[in-house]
């Protein structure tokens, strides 16, 4: 008899790493003979994803209770708190599989958005309270597994993120963006991709860029691509760039996949100063484009990048980061070496293999 294996996410949005993984997992689950129905339910979702995900409050109608409901499985993606989801899970008879993507530390968010910081703290509490109901706990990195174990979980298994990091390389770059980057943007380009959030430390990156252009390499551009979900923090970073007189720094905001492909193609170096990452997909995307990566050895970044990135000590040192960027821009052999290593590293995150690992875990329950 086939089992229902549904997934639950708090929020589904296009391009979001958790949403992408849920979609990839659904495709994988549909290949498993023992799995019957499998849908993605979301508390919130972008209208564009209406055909892919189902509102959580339709769960009871779409998946009516059966006598064997206790044998079915709910895969819960944990990355933030949401009381409505916690309440929903508390009343479900299905066996629960937690996939932990990391809940960012709240302290760096509190000065900018106390309500969001509370949601993050709430997420940790909800996850700890859910523990007795969890049949299996998965984490997409050893760093995340350790974090989940710190919340009282045992036997957390590492199941690599099911992500096709090379997918962007197959997309036709947005012609307008590509033209702008080719014709208007002069000199080497440093690219950062990620949400403009305090724990990702774009402020430290701006400091390093200031040191780089003031003392080492004046003709370099810095592009920060990604949404700024905390308007107050985004405004602070924008002010900082303005007041340090850095016209070569560009906060590009959220962009389409096609535009992102254009940015990666134009980039000379990918850089992140992030101090906390549960996985860091953009590192792999940069590797897929053959762009050398510079980062700080923080969170799960060393696990994701392996020996294919220039990993600096985790301390806040904008001068060393600037020096690393100057070195890399100046040394074609080093860039080529990192690009070659990146391509090798990407093989370790083959989406089919990661999906097989995930299915192996789920198969134990169905």
């Amino acid at each position: 008899m086939s089992r229902r294996v549904h997934q639950v996410v708090v929020s589904a949005s296009a391009g979001d790493a958790v949403t992408n993984e849920a979609l990839a997992m659904r495709s994988a689950l549909r290949t498993l003979g023992a799995v019957g129905e499998c849908e993605i339910f979301a508390r919130y979702h972008e209208p564009a994803l209406a055909g892919e995900v189902v509102p959580l409050d339709e769960y009871a109608r779409r998946s009516p209770p059966t006598a064997a409901a206790g044998e079915d499985v709910l895969v819960v993606h944990a990355s933030i708190g949401e009381p409505a989801v916690a309440e929903f899970l508390a009343g479900r008879p299905e066996r629960i599989v937690v996939v932990y993507h990391n809940i960012s530390p709240s302290e760096s968010f509190r000065p900018y958005d106390p309500a969001f910081a509370d949601l993050l703290d709430g997420g940790r509490r909800e996850l700890a309270e859910l523990r007795p109901r969890v049949a299996m706990a998965l984490a997409d990195s050893a760093f995340n597994a350790a974090d989940l174990e710190s919340m009282g979980y045992h036997d957390v298994r590492v199941s690599p993120l099911v992500v096709d990091a090379a997918a962007l390389t197959r997309i036709e770059p947005d012609p307008g963006t590509a033209h702008h980057l080719a014709e208007v943007v002069e000199g080497p380009v440093l690219l950062h991709v990620g949400q403009l959030l305090p724990h990702k430390r774009p402020d430290l990156l701006v400091q390093a860029y200031h040191v780089l252009t003031t003392y080492l390499e004046p003709e370099v551009r810095l592009v920060l691509v990604g949404p700024g979900r905390l308007p107050r923090y985004r405004a602070a970073v924008q002010h900082y760039v303005h007041e340090l007189s850095l016209p070569g720094a560009w906060l590009a905001g959220p962009v389409s996949d096609a535009a992102l492909a254009a940015f990666y193609r134009r980039a000379d170096v990918f850089v992140t100063a992030s101090g906390h990452e549960g996985f860091c997909v953009p590192v792999l995307e940069a590797m897929a484009f053959g762009v050398p990566v510079v980062a700080r050895a923080c969170g799960a970044i060393p696990e994701t990048a392996g020996d294919a990135a220039l990993l600096l000590p985790p301390g806040d040192d904008p001068v060393l980061l600037a020096e690393a960027l100057a070195t890399l821009l100046d040394d074609a052999d080093l860039r080529a070496s990192l690009a070659a290593r990146g391509r090798e590293r990407l093989d370790d995150f083959d989406p089919a293999r990661s999906a097989a690992v995930f299915l192996g875990h789920v198969a134990e329950l169905v």
């Binding site: 900018y112 007041e243 070195t327 080529a336 070659a340």
Partner: protein
């Protein structure tokens, strides 16, 4: 570059070389003392004094208000639990329709005005740059930045002079003594 050659690069050694170069530049004064703390302090000042408050939630509430602020006769129910009540309500509504419409028009006009005022207040509050004190703080920071840059130039010139003097001394020492 072949993959084997790619592996030949020792990244630990590359980082050690960079760290040594940073230390050397610090020693020579190429990186002025207090550079990082100055930059960090500047960002802290911005966060503390000049970041704009977030009005996303207020804007969302105003947008939600838009959906509820259309007044009309069609939204006044005429249903009734009593026999013949619905017909009675419909008849009364028809009799006083003109007066009701007049009242609704006035309420609508007032609601639209209140909404416009709210939008205007949010727009004004969202623009801290228009506030004279924020401007002053910004200008002060700009002056401080220029001052710091000028000081750095002086330090760099001093370091360059010291290096030049050292080289002259070395050249003098290398000149063989006159016979």
């Amino acid at each position: 570059m072949a993959d084997d050659a790619a592996r030949d690069v020792d990244l630990d050694e590359v980082i050690a070389r960079m760290q040594a170069r940073v230390a050397e530049r610090r020693r020579s004064g190429a990186y002025p003392e207090g550079l990082e703390s100055d930059l960090e302090e500047h960002f802290r000042r911005i966060v503390a004094h000049r970041a704009s408050p977030d009005f996303t939630d207020v804007r969302a509430r105003i947008a939600a208000l838009d959906g509820r602020s259309r007044f009309g006769l069609d939204r006044i129910p005429a249903t009734s639990q009593r026999p013949g009540g619905q017909a009675l309500h419909a008849a009364v509504a028809k009799v006083v329709a003109r007066q009701t419409a007049g009242v609704l028009d006035q309420v609508q006009e007032y609601a639209d005005g209140v909404r416009d005022v709210l939008v205007g207040i949010v727009a004004a509050l969202e623009d801290p740059e228009g506030h004279v004190h924020a401007d002053l703080v910004g200008q002060l920071d700009a002056v401080l930045e220029r001052l710091t840059a000028a000081e750095r130039r002086a330090v760099a010139a001093e370091a360059a002079l010291a290096a030049l003097a050292g080289r002259v001394e070395a050249m003098e020492a290398a000149v063989p003594p006159a016979p």
